[in-house]
């Protein structure tokens, strides 16, 4: 920005942290595509979860009404955000909690560190949280001598493997069981060397490894799936019980929550507690959900904090075409149906937020003119599957197109004007598009150019193909041939045909592609279909 900002800038500041791609999507995707293990695992995971989701969604006769309600509640929450945040603060405080506000990642990290220092702890337990991943909290604390221990099994695998999550629901899906066993053998000091790669044994090794940590932890750090303005209630939705451990046993609980997670009323939970589990893990309900409101004397943490995080969210909110990306409840349904994500995996997106939602959320949080995220809005075929799957009906394809427009504007806007967001000299693309716009704006100009077609054809090889085009177009011919242009244009052929045959009949057939796409949420088998009968967890097994 060239304008000097006095007081509050007109565009809210961008967010920082792990929401920026480290390299452009095409390059990262190219590398990740070479990883066959990743692709096989991802394909299996996304298809399995997708099928489960369809099954449990089709059980509910009012699924579409719930999606409408979810979308309406989120829209309302965003429009009343100042009032709801203030109300949340009042309620949470009145019930014994402390509320902090953080403008960006750095401020949030500093607040968390300060709160941990007050307790004297040098180790904290963490329950999976995208907000703390976004702000890079673990790395920040590590550098300052505080160990932050991830307790979700997949997050633990990722952390012990010095790796990054690849899926927001099953973050270690890119690792197979043997790799996981090797990580455990190398990184868990107390594990038996005879550990096999059976998932049950691996899970039990993680249980044993974490149990002592849970029982002795003084401080826990969590995210939140919801914050209820009406009551000051926070909620965490999980499966393993590591969340309950963190939210119940330590004396101090610090929660980092994005400001967009606030819901107006307690009653809204009846909608989101139906939408989230079914969309996320494809279960009727996740094993555990914890809801807490400030401090309950004699039960659970007595020193309770929440940090309300902006970090670019107000920037996203200021984009009226993109703001509905903030409605996201992080269910990951859009990832599981995305043909691009299925092949490239989460790492290619660079950010904490991968997949279709990441492709819009990351550039909205940083601003699309942030060079590192400007290729993300192109990481989509605009097939629309994500929109159909989204439980809060975020129109991801529409926002992608909007952001592509913003990106083009940022890169290629005319140089006139002072405060332009333009990034440099006119590119070949600018020149080409300029020429195209000149030619296509007039039929006469186009007709004139078409007269050159036979010449172009003569320039092509014998087989009627260009194997190498010059300049920018070389990228296209790097891995494919371009057919030579025809000797006559469609327009001139049509004119001749019309003269010969009289008025042509309108041919109404369309390509039928749109009709072929399977609608999400289609009725599949009945309620009981596919349900595995409880095979009796016997007492012997559980002991």
């Amino acid at each position: 920005m060239t304008t000097v900002s006095l007081g509050i800038p007109s565009v809210p500041p961008r967010g920082f942290g792990n929401i920026s791609a480290v390299e452009p999507f095409p390059r990262a995707a190219h590398r990740e595509l070479g990883n066959a293990q990743l692709r096989a695992n991802l394909g299996h995971a996304t298809h399995t979860i997708r099928d489960k989701r369809l099954r449990v969604v089709s059980e509910l006769p009012d699924w579409e009404a719930l999606r409408d309600a979810g979308s309406a509640i989120k829209t309302e929450a965003m429009s009343r955000l100042p009032e709801l945040l203030t109300q949340f603060e009042e309620q949470f405080t009145a019930r014994g909690g402390t509320v902090h506000w953080a403008r960006d990642a750095a401020e949030a990290n500093r607040i968390v560190e300060g709160l941990i220092r007050q307790t004297g702890a040098s180790e904290v337990v963490k329950v999976k949280s995208m907000a703390t991943q976004e702000i890079g909290l673990n790395e920040y604390l590590e550098e300052r001598g505080i160990a932050a221990l991830e307790t979700d099994l997949a997050e633990l695998i990722v952390q012990l493997g010095h790796d990054k999550p690849s899926h927001i629901l099953v973050p270690a899906i890119h690792k197979n069981r043997t790799e996981i066993r090797d990580i455990f053998l190398a990184e868990m000091p107390d594990v038996a060397p005879s550990l096999t790669d059976e998932p049950r044994r691996l899970a039990m090794a993680a249980r044993a490894h974490l149990r002592r940590k849970f029982l002795s932890a003084k401080v826990a750090i969590s995210g939140a799936n919801f914050g209820i303005a009406e009551t000051g209630t926070l909620g965490v939705v999980e499966s393993e019980g590591n969340g309950r451990m963190c939210l119940t046993l330590p004396e101090t609980l610090i929660t980092v929550m994005g400001i967009e997670k606030v819901l107006p009323r307690a009653q809204d939970l009846e909608v989101f507690m139906q939408l989230l589990p079914r969309s996320s893990t494809g279960e009727r309900m996740n094993p555990y959900t914890s809801l807490w409101t400030g401090v309950t004397p004699g039960d659970g943490p007595q020193n309770v904090h929440v940090i309300l995080l902006d970090n670019g969210r107000t920037r996203a909110l200021a984009d009226r075409h993109g703001r509905s990306a903030l409605h996201c409840i992080r269910c990951s349904a859009c990832m599981n149906v995305c043909p691009v994500y299925e092949r490239t995996g989460g790492h290619a997106y660079g950010s904490t937020y991968p997949g279709p939602i990441g492709a819009i959320l990351s550039p909205l949080l940083t601003g699309v003119e942030a060079e590192e995220n400007s290729s993300l809005p192109y990481a989509s075929s605009l097939c629309g599957a994500c929109f159909d799957a989204c439980p809060v009906k975020i129109n991801i394809p529409e926002i992608l197109v909007h952001l592509r427009g913003e990106d083009v504007e940022a890169k290629h806007a005319p140089r006139s004007g002072s405060g332009g967001r333009r990034r440099g000299l006119p590119t070949q693309m600018d020149v080409a598009l300029g020429a195209a716009s000149w030619a296509l704006s007039s039929g006469d100009r186009l007709g004139l150019l078409e007269k050159g077609l036979p010449v172009a054809r003569a320039l092509a090889g014998r087989d009627g193909k260009f194997t190498r085009l010059p300049g920018l177009a070389a990228g296209w011919t790097q891995s494919r041939d371009a057919p030579a242009p025809p000797s006559e244009s469609f327009r001139s052929w049509w004119k001749k045909r019309e003269k010969a045959a009289g008025p042509a009949k309108g041919d109404g057939t369309t390509d039928g592609a749109a009709g072929g796409r399977a609608k999400g949420d289609g009725a599949t088998d009945g309620a009981a279909g596919g349900r595995a009968k409880g095979d009796g967890a016997t007492e012997g097994e559980a002991q």
Partner: protein, 236 residues
Amino acid sequence: MSARDEILARVREALGAGSVQGSRPVGALVQGSPSVGSDRQEVTPERAPEPSAYRTPYRTESEMDEDGLVELLVDRLEDYKARVEVVARGELAGAIRKRLDGKRFVVPHGFPTEWLHPALADRAVTDSREAPIAVERLDALDAVVTSSAVSIAETGTIVLDGSPDQGRRAISLVPDHHVCVVPVETIAGIVPEGFARLDVTRPLTLISGPSATSDIELERVEGVHGPRMLDVIIAR
């Protein structure tokens, strides 16, 4: 300016910027709900739509009788690999005794005494907010027995709300075996009916089967950090 005031100012500004040119109407996506103006700078609470505007379209009531509720809840819980038993009120103490046979267990101080068989007395440890059992000691116990506040049949969910017959959250978490009593009158049909009976300001734990993970190659493993064994006894 404090972070709080600055963030709130940014939010107001962002919303103002978004609505200048008549952006999509906010909070009015449900048919029949009052339309909230789209071109204002500030949204006032009075103009927000009523909660009922969102309630109309989706199911808020199920019409299941007691048999139907019990049958559905049992089905869902078994699907989650919980062990379920339906007993008459008079047989409850005997059923609990069978589940806890030979085990040392913790019981919340408000648990009805008539539900605890006298034969169990010497292996029971009582816990309360006022006299909490240390976590290491809880870890050394085999089991816990509690009642429950509300259950939701359609999703197989049992809710504990920290009442005296359910106790502190830690006692139903640390021991490896949870025996949970569901009085039949606490069973609701669907999620909105369940939440309507709850006070969310109490410490709530929603339990749908024993803990589980699918983090390793999506293979489901029951029992990670929470109790690995969930016994549900529905009392009619």
